[in-house]
Structure formats: C-alpha cells, structure tokens
Symmetry: C2
Subunit: 177 residues, 2 copies
C-alpha cells in the first residue's frame, strides 16, 4: 500500500492530465511520482467467418501506421459498453447484437492509470447508415484471417498491445487451451 | 503519414517528457497532439519447470498491487538486452544464459511513444550475489504454474498488458498453434 501525501496538477489536456505526487511508500520513504491520469479506453474484437476486423491508422506518437482492433477513449464516467458500441460503429461502420466482456487491463501501470476494457462483438453486421468518425480521424478497415493476424503478431507487423492481447485470446479460444 | 509543424516542451520528468505538437494530418487539417515521450521498456518471460516467475508490486497510478513479469525502463539509448538482464537480476535475483527476443510492441500508441521489448530467459538460475534493487522499489517474487497464471489472466487477477501478452505467448507456444 502506498499513500498520497500531496498532489500538484502540472497539466490538464483533452486526453489525459499530469500530476506530480508525493507518495509514502511501503518502507516509509517519501518519493515523487509523475502520474498520467487517463479515463481509460475500450477495444472490440470482431471475428466473422474466421477473419478479424482491424483498423489501420497513423499513430503520431510512434511515427508509424499501426494495425489495431477498433478502439476508443472513454469519456469521463462513461459506460465502457456504450463506448465500445459507438467506437466500433464510428471506426468500422459495423454494429453487433451485443458486446461480451473478455477482460480489462492496464496498458502501462508504471506511470499511467489507463485501463482498457476488451470486448468481443457478438453477431457483427454492417450498418446501413453508420455514424461517421471524428473529422480528425483517418482510418481504413482491413479484414485478416485470424491465423494470418496471429502470424503478423509473431512477426512484428502488429505492434499494438491491446490488439496482440485480443488476437492471442482468440487463438487460445480456438485451440481450446 | 502525418507531419510535425511545431513542438512545444510542456514538461520534462525522469520517466517521460510531454510535448504539445501541431501536426498536419492526412486530410491537410492541422491538429494539436499532446504526446508522452518515453524511452521504452523491457519485460522478461522466465519459465522454469512449467512455472512462470512474476513480481508483485504496488503500482501507484492504478492504486493497486499488480502481478507482472520482471520489467524495467530503458535509459536513453540503452540496449534493451542489457536492460533486460539488469532488471531481471535486480527485481528477482535471477540470471540466465541468454535472453531470446520474442517481440516488441507499443503499450498505448494513441498518446505515448513507449515501446516494450519482450524477451524470454534461456536457462534461468538463481544468482549467488544478485545486484540489489533500487531503494524506492518494494517488490516480491512469486512462482505460478503457467496454466494457473493463464487462468489468472482470464479471471482478471493479472491485469498488466505486457504480462498478459507474455503469458498468452507461452500458452500458445505450449499448445503448438
């Protein structure tokens, strides 16, 4: 257990805030921790006819285009389920009968609070008049056979953590481990 | 492809820096991007007698104790291989014959540059006089049967992304998919 002694807001942005906290750790030392506070995100695994639906977009912080599962950022206090349905439709034009929760996880817990909720789309189908995406998003969709996507993970062509977790989950489910 | 127009340093810390960039995106819009710049990290999968070596530590940003593979932050321009050997020894008291590269990935590419290099320890063994860990680290080690660790992933008791990727990788390797 670690206890917050004080917290100073250093930056408040649209995607995250940054605080610098003084923290009393287990051995009673007082240490400084820079913390990124993030509302969390949602990722959706969509599988249809043994193929997975992925989105390609340029990720400026990594200086490259990445292939990822459809995903988005939670608004403050937003229900991850609602966010998952919205992001799936906006990014891919797909809807589904329901989302089934797979798991949730922390993307990089050493300095950031971001928790990602991972869902699987049940009975996905193409929407006739889908909601359009934000005007600052340039995203294209790609279907890949699940086995090919898994090879792309192993060969380093898919490099996004949440997407790797989703693909490996789907492979393990298929292999009935 | 997206092009940086300008970049303003907002914060420079020990673990990461924060810039606010003006970026020209694919449709020629100019948008603002807050970016966390991080030197990256290393995680090490250690399996011995069908059990995996994990470390437990309180992660202040998530307000809970997490079970993770041994891991650490890269110094600027540090070789991930060297970092992996050091962090393995400091956090667990273990050394190994060599590290074998599994893959690398981005932990949260929407706003952060952090890339994590994942290795597997070949022939791990307990060091007689291991390097000690940083004095602000309070870490305990735990061995779990790999199958149990996988169930902990599926049941939400293991919630760290890099650790989930490593455990799923080990399970898929075992099941020869």
């Amino acid at each position: 257990m670690q206890k917050k002694i004080s917290s100073k807001m250093l930056y408040k942005g649209c995607i995250f805030t940054l605080t610098q906290d003084q923290v009393k750790i287990e051995n009673d030392m007082i240490v400084t921790r820079d913390v990124i506070h993030h509302h969390g995100g949602v990722g959706v695994l969509v599988i249809k006819d043994h193929a997975i639906l992925l989105v390609r977009q340029y990720r400026y912080p990594t200086q490259r285009s990445l292939l990822e599962i459809p995903a988005g950022k939670l608004e403050k206090d937003e229900d991850p389920y609602v966010c998952g349905l919205r992001e799936l439709e906006e990014e891919t034009g797909y809807r589904c009968q329901e989302l089934r929760s797979i798991t949730s996880f922390y993307s990089t817990p050493g300095f950031c609070s971001e928790k990602i909720y991972l869902y699987e789309a049940v009975a996905p189908y193409k929407a006739e008049h889908p909601r359009s995406m934000d005007e600052d998003e340039c995203i294209s969709i790609e279907w890949h056979a699940l086995k090919d996507a898994y090879h792309m993970v192993m060969e380093g062509q898919i490099q996004d953590a949440k997407t790797m977790i989703a693909i490996q989950y789907a492979m393990l489910k298929t292999s009935n481990t």
